[in-house]
Amino acid sequence: MNRMLSLLLALMLLAVLPGCDYRILERIGYTYAASYDTAPGNQVEIGISIPRADPTVKLQRELHSAIGKSSKDARVKFSNETDLLLVNGQIRVLLYSEDLARKDLANEINSILRDTSISPLVRISLVNGNAKDLLFKNYKQHLSTDKYINRLLEKSSVNNRIPKTTLYEFERDYYEDGVDPVAPILKEEDEDITLDGIGLFRGYQYIAKIPNKDALLFSILRGRIKKGDMALDLAEHENGSAEEYIMFTSVISNRKMHVKHRSGEPIHVTLEANFKGSVHEYIGNLKLSKDADRHQVEKRVSELLTSRANRLVKQLQRYNVDSLGIGIHVRNSMSHKEWKALDWSKEYPRVKVDCQLKFKAKDYGKIR
């Protein structure tokens, strides 16, 4: 009897409770991507893209935009324009215009961090130009733009063309003492979207960018990588030789930093990176199957990249952004008291950084 009673009660609960809080999938608008632009009077313009899967309409996605004091303020405005219940749970991409990022992204990022429904895996990217226009435009030969951007960013970060920049990484680097956040930059190019480089931040403020051609080098200097390809014109370095060109893929690298302190001198940091790759293309006079020749090519690649790396680091120091996380290693090399006494942002531009890159050709393809 008792058992029957409890069973009945359980069944009744099961029948009644689902009615308490129900959602119908077709009536929910899962925002997939959002864009943020500057608007007059210290306001922000927000654009959102919502995929629609309704067989009765020939619509791929719904687009809304509004201007407001904050992102949530704008959200209230465009939620009046749609019949869908807007939710943030499936946001994958957040696009910020360079202009907005140059001011400061603190408010925008914090409002996203507070929202429990937004995943820490949401990708963050800057846009060279107007972010809303980039997101709202339909690119003929590509998927729905929001998905196109998401996949482009995902693929590029796997290939180390851009650093992996999800909300988690962005926030982590913001709070970490000795490193500054970075984010990729996208731009519209005719009928495509393309990578425009890597945006360097100080706190949540966008300071400068490094061009796309240095992207892989930047990844190698920033930490361990496992994929990526690079093409180099060796002739630009060795002006004597004729046309010499190399392209290698499947780059695997690791990075080490050694910090030395000498009294009276600025901190000395040696950044060591060893990387290996498979040569897929080589145009030049040397024969890769010969050990001596191959070592010569390896040496040239190492030298060229070392000098480019040194130039890149100088550039970062000039902008006073520690995007490579040199500060973390400097911090870990001293006592807590010394680190606190050191004003890293003042010290950083004076640090002597010496990059040493070593390339090794793992293999050189099917021909000798």
Binding site: L13, D21, Q90, T116, P120, L121, Y168, R172, Y175, I328
Partner: protein
Amino acid sequence: MIPMEKKEKLSPFHTTILVFMIQSGVMALILPQLLAETFGTNGWITVLGFGFVASINIFLIAAVYKLGKGRSIFQILEQSIPKFMLIPFYLALALVWTLLGCMAGKEYILIFQMYAFPTTNPMEFKLIMDLLVFWLLTKGLYNITKASTIFFWLFSWLVLLLFFFYADFSWTRLTPFLFKEGHFTYLESLDIYSSFLGYEIVILLFAYTNQKTKLIKSTLLGNLITTVMYCYLALITFGVYSLGQLKNKAFPVLEMMAYIRFPFIERMENLLYGFILFTVLFSILMYEWCALEMLKQVFPKLKANFLAFMLILSCFIVAYIPETLNEVGDWLSTLSMIECGIAFGLPFLLLIVLMFQKMGSRTAHE
């Protein structure tokens, strides 16, 4: 005929698991943040210290177990102290334990609701949870321990999810500094310690054990599992998040779960939150069970199931009072502080009583 034990006794394995399940609870979700806030860099190491303190407390209970020769605490107390004096004491303990279970339940529900079903009335969830607690409660301790073993297996695989963070874990992020940039307060360290609470209820298990249970050994082992788990969890959180970020997170462990992504499913953390219920459920259940044991002593004539029903009903009604997460957090903090006192005070009290009894018996023999 082979002499058979009349009543079933707890097995060591079940006891270990039970202790672990009671200890690990809703506080584990906040633990890394508290560690970062209180101890700063490398705060995860202190987990071992807290675990050690808990072990000392368990040794205290062991002394009671040994000196009392396995008698239940009621037998020990009632031998020396008249019952009418003990009744308010029993009732006070029952009240603390009821409220503790009740608030832990409400806290879990409110946290869960931040992520799922935010507009549903939290008391609807509480009702279901309390029903579950009630049903388990009426089944008796032996069945509870068996159920806890099953729930343990349902829950324990979550530990494997920490593998996901190995890629983002970085030793350099841990920094070589020990306990810097923290803000130590006794109040917060008590909060941290409260995430270890739960082992102290074994003091009520004496009557359900025999030699084979190896009660103290099993409890220590359960506490060790909790400590190692917490330490591992805290280490990973400290290596995945930067210190400032961790300090700023309300529920770092929940957020870490959101970071897990499978190729075929994204945003699966809402599914995972549900699994945490299993361990939270047993923390609640066992506190309610303790309260019930107390009530049984106070009202020996009433039926246990009726008492259990009244207990859960009052627990449900009290849960209406605090409405926000902060209010519940405050209640829980205060209650855990009292519970810390009970965890150390009760065995002390019993030891004193036992000492008097021993002296009394010695003089009687002389």
